[in-house]
């Protein structure tokens, strides 16, 4: 197992800038997830780490040593591909053992290790089959097995779950988590699925257009998004974000939108008069029992109700501004109801020029 460090990695394809000055540190045994919408350069970054593509600038360090001149073979890294990239002309056993064979391991040793890993992944009965005779889930396991069997310095996983159906994806996700807990490998994992990122990652790296927007534990990413992109990209349904202005009134800063006012809590006063964005997650909004104390309440009209089973999300309107609110599954609101919302200033996320204040 190894630690990984990226220093100011940049990459262009033609005139297009794919990565710009990406810094990242992954500790030994850490599960690091690269999260971002498609086209954000996360897969390219992964390929640079693997040595499949050469960065234009910057450096990749494994265990503190730069490996920029090393071939993939010399880096001793395992990778699981989105399409699994199983060798169609080899059996499962041959697929699993290929990396070992290429590294010159003796036949017996290969066989032993292949059987061991296959048993562990529950695919020991499939060893003689060819990839095309396997189901999607089975192929995924073989692909995982091919990476695991070599116990490499680093695992790279490129959206390994995206080709599975929803149910299977959840199971494999859990399994992956368990595997990591058992094996303690260093993992760099690419996904565009925030749920995967939040559930799997010890550390999440959110990327957009070739730049790292935030690095942190999932809870940090969720609770203290560094900018509006991270704020809206993480969380489902997305965080409510209002555009408006801070005004000083009676010695307190108040947030104004066209439709309502909010008490903005502790905000540095030099922002007074500046345009800001204010976000709040649906679950941080409380629905008041009655409409008393009207000064601190926002009166919202229920527009759409989405029932996701464990809870309900109410898409409401205050004036022309939409606000999504979580409610308990037992709540019995109807479309068109007007409900009072309480917003705790402490749970507001305030952004100025896109950055968290």
């Amino acid at each position: 197992m190894a630690s990984l460090e990226l220093k100011k990695i940049s990459k262009c394809f033609g005139n297009e800038r794919i990565l710009s000055r990406v810094d990242l540190q992954v500790k030994e045994g850490e599960f690091c997830v690269l999260l971002g919408p498609s086209g954000c350069g996360k897969s390219t970054l992964l390929q640079i780490v693997a040595g499949l593509i050469r960065q234009d600038e910057g450096s990749v360090l494994l265990n503190g040593r730069p490996v920029d001149r090393a071939t993939p073979r010399e880096r001793d890294i395992a990778m699981v591909f989105q399409g699994y990239a199983l060798y169609p002309h080899m059996t499962v056993a041959q697929n699993l053992g290929f990396g070992l064979r290429m590294r010159g391991m003796a036949r017996d040793g290969i066989k032993k290790q292949v059987t061991e890993i296959a048993t562990r992944l529950g695919i020991e009965t499939l060893l003689k089959r060819k990839p095309r005779e396997l189901s999607g889930g089975q192929r995924q396991r073989v692909a995982m097995g091919r990476a695991l069997v070599r116990s490499p310095m680093l695992f790279l996983l490129d959206e390994p779950l995206s080709n599975l159906d929803a149910q299977l994806r959840i199971n494999v996700r859990l399994e992956l988590k368990r595997l990591h807990q058992q094996m303690k490998g260093t993992i760099l994992y690419v996904t565009h699925d925030q749920v995967e990122a939040m559930t799997l990652g010890d550390k999440v790296v959110v990327m957009k257009r070739g730049e790292v927007r935030q690095i942190g534990r999932p809870s940090i990413i969720y609770d203290r998004p560094a900018d509006t992109f991270v704020a809206t990209f993480i969380g489902s349904p997305a965080m409510n974000l209002f555009r408006g202005e801070l005004t000083q009134k009676e010695g307190r800063l108040t947030f104004h939108t066209a439709d309502f006012l909010l008490n903005s809590g502790d905000v540095p006063s030099e922002l007074a008069g500046a345009p800001v964005e204010v976000g709040i997650r649906p679950e941080d909004i409380t629905i008041a029992r009655d409409a008393g104390n009207a000064g601190d309440l926002l009166m919202a009209r229920v527009d759409i109700i989405s029932n996701v089973g464990a809870e309900k999300f109410l898409h409401t309107m205050v004036g022309n501004t939409g606000i999504t609110v979580r409610s308990e599954k037992g709540a019995s609101f109807q479309t068109g109801d007007t409900i009072p919302l309480i917003i705790d200033p402490a749970s507001l996320h305030i952004f100025h020029k896109g950055r968290r204040v």
Partner: protein
């Protein structure tokens, strides 16, 4: 792709390019050089003066060459068209699963495995006006109806086309078959589920996927057809009345029979330029997918 990889790729390319350079590019240069000179082997006293483009000018005004060009174009169009058509049909048949498929594949390969020198002789034999099988198959015992295929200007060229189509359809078929073989079966199953008919399946799935192979076949068949020479050499010697005097055979005679090296080289260069233009046109029109395909 790292820089190291690019250097490595160039190293991989080097031996092939070296051989091509040595055995083709340099000789092409020498031919080009010759085509700007007058060199008549049997008259060394004339030396080999530099003529500039005179050989090419003469060629433009040479009625025999113009006639040859016309014949060559007819030959190229007809031959490549039928070869590709039959090639696609053969490939589709051979791709089908049925007992005896291997035998069919072997059969189809036979014409291509017969050396052209033999196949041309064979057609000269089959097309004989007195004892040829072709006449027998068409007219049976009515010997008075027999057509002297190779003796009439119109049918002589047709005979050459038939002989070429017979021999080289399997070339196209083989290339296209290889293209068919990489089409995953699932695609067909999927389209079947989607309710596509045989015809739609062909146009929607088979056609786009075999297009690169078809393109290669078209390119190489056109190139070869433009340079057809041995069929004319064996079957008709360019006759009767120059009716099958294809351009390359004309060039061959100029160089190897008459020893008129400069003029013969000029003919070759012209063939080369015409094929080149045609190839670029093909690649632009149909082949961009092949060349642009991401690497």
């Amino acid at each position: 792709m790292t820089r190291k990889d690019n250097i490595f790729f160039l190293i991989l390319l080097a031996p092939a390019l070296f051989i091509l350079l040595l055995f083709i590019a340099v000789p092409i240069g020498q031919s080009l050089f010759l085509s700007f000179h007058r060199l008549i082997l049997s008259l060394p006293q004339l030396g080999s003066p530099f003529l500039g483009l005179e050989n090419y000018k003469d060629l433009l005004h040479d009625p025999v060459a113009r006639h040859s060009l016309w014949i060559t174009l007819i030959f190229v169009c007809a031959a490549t068209f039928f070869e590709l058509l039959i090639g696609v049909l053969l490939a589709l048949l051979m791709h089908h699963h049925f007992p005896g498929r291997g035998m069919l594949r072997a059969c189809v390969l036979i014409p291509w495995a017969v050396p052209t020198v033999v196949s041309a002789q064979m057609w000269r034999f089959l097309l004989n006006d007195a004892y040829g099988m072709v006449n027998y198959v068409i007219f049976g015992a009515h010997t008075t109806e027999y057509i002297p295929w190779l003796a009439l200007p119109s049918t002589a060229l047709l005979s050459l086309i038939v002989a070429d189509v017979w021999k080289t359809s399997s070339f196209a078929a083989l290339l296209i078959l290889a293209g068919l073989q990489v089409i995953p079966e699932e695609l067909y199953l999927a389209s079947r589920v989607d309710g596509a008919g045989v015809w739609q399946r062909f146009w929607r799935i088979t056609w786009p996927l075999i297009r690169p192979a078809l393109m290669v076949a078209l390119l190489f068949r056109t190139i070869d057809a433009f340079r057809v020479f041995d069929l004319a050499f064996v079957m008709t010697q360019g006759g009767p009345a120059d009716a099958t005097n294809v351009l390359q055979f004309y060039g061959y005679k100029k160089m190897f029979v008459e020893g008129w090296m400069g003029y013969g080289s000029a003919i070759s260069v012209c063939i080369f330029v015409m094929v080149l233009i045609l190839a670029v046109f093909y690649v632009r029109m149909v082949g961009h997918r092949l060349l642009e395909a991401s690497g």
